[in-house]
Amino acid sequence: MKKYLIIPLLIMLIVLPFVFFDVLPSIGDMKSAPNTHVSDYYIENSIKDAYSENMVTAVIVDFRAFDTLLETTVMFLAGISVMIILASRPRAAQRMRSTLDAKKSKIKSIAPVFKTINKDVMITIIEPIILIYALYVLFHGEISLGGGFQAGALIGMVYLLDVLVIPDRHNLYRMSKSNSAMIAGLGTFIYCLCGILTLIGGGIFLEYSNLPLPLTEAMKHSMGILMVEIGVTVGVAGTIITIINSIMERVRFDDDNY
């Protein structure tokens, strides 16, 4: 395998002198194409149009809300496809499994247990702090850095740590594979619901200043951004939990075969 790795490296070295890096704009060049029209408008009008102090949030969730909607959908589809691929059971392995069922060797635990970490410390200190931080990132994302994606990833990380450190916990703290996939879809649904609410208010899709709420325009914008961020958070957390659950099932299945 490693013998053939040299071929792409050689091709890269041969092609490299012929690539003209002068064509690409240098970093921070004010005359390059993306910096001439769009960026200046975003920098000048992000507070006036979107009422959001964090420019990144204004661009991601307000100016380019369609992009983020489709990104969330793509992530949901990726989670579902990982679930389908990992849940498929090859036939030969199934036959082998039926022969192995007679032997029924010792049952391994689902996940590798990290025995050096104290479970009480995990439950009482680490997990609540990460969860509180996730909520802070979610609700403060309009002003400081952060937002829906990061908060969802943090919530997924709490689930992952919980599964790894305490594999034999009560079922109340676990989520089935189909339920987590449903929650990932729910996130995208919340996002679309925000767009439908703006349609009801008489605007175009995801135009936050037309939300049918008795608020000022700045409040409407912040409510719309918050709703979209909550949708993204739920979607990302559901996707990560789906991937973790399907990997868990596959690992258990493969362990039975050996």
Binding site: P112, L160, I240, V251
Partner: protein, 84 residues
């Protein structure tokens, strides 16, 4: 100028890390070095002035490393060494 120098150093470290990921015998070692890769990428994003992306990279790097380590249980860890 200083940030350009810092970027150049970080990019060189990235190239070295990538080569060591490809040419290591143990898959566990490659996964751990991959974690270092995502860390250096995070530093690069911070130097370039994108703390939002750096935050995402930090969280996702940790999660993907843990998932890779979980999946390593199901396959053989080491490739065939030439000495045996």
């Amino acid at each position: 100028m200083h940030t350009l120098l810092l970027q150049a150093i970080l990019l060189l470290i990235l190239i070295a890390i990538t080569l060591s990921i490809i040419f290591s015998d143990d898959l566990m070692a490659s996964v751990i070095i991959y974690c270092a890769f995502s860390f250096i990428t995070m530093l690069l994003y911070i130097v370039m002035g994108a703390p939002d992306v750096a935050f995402t990279e930090a969280v996702i790097g940790v999660i993907s490393t843990i998932i890779f380590i979980m999946l390593l249980r199901t396959i053989k860890r080491k490739t065939k060494s030439k000495k045996k």
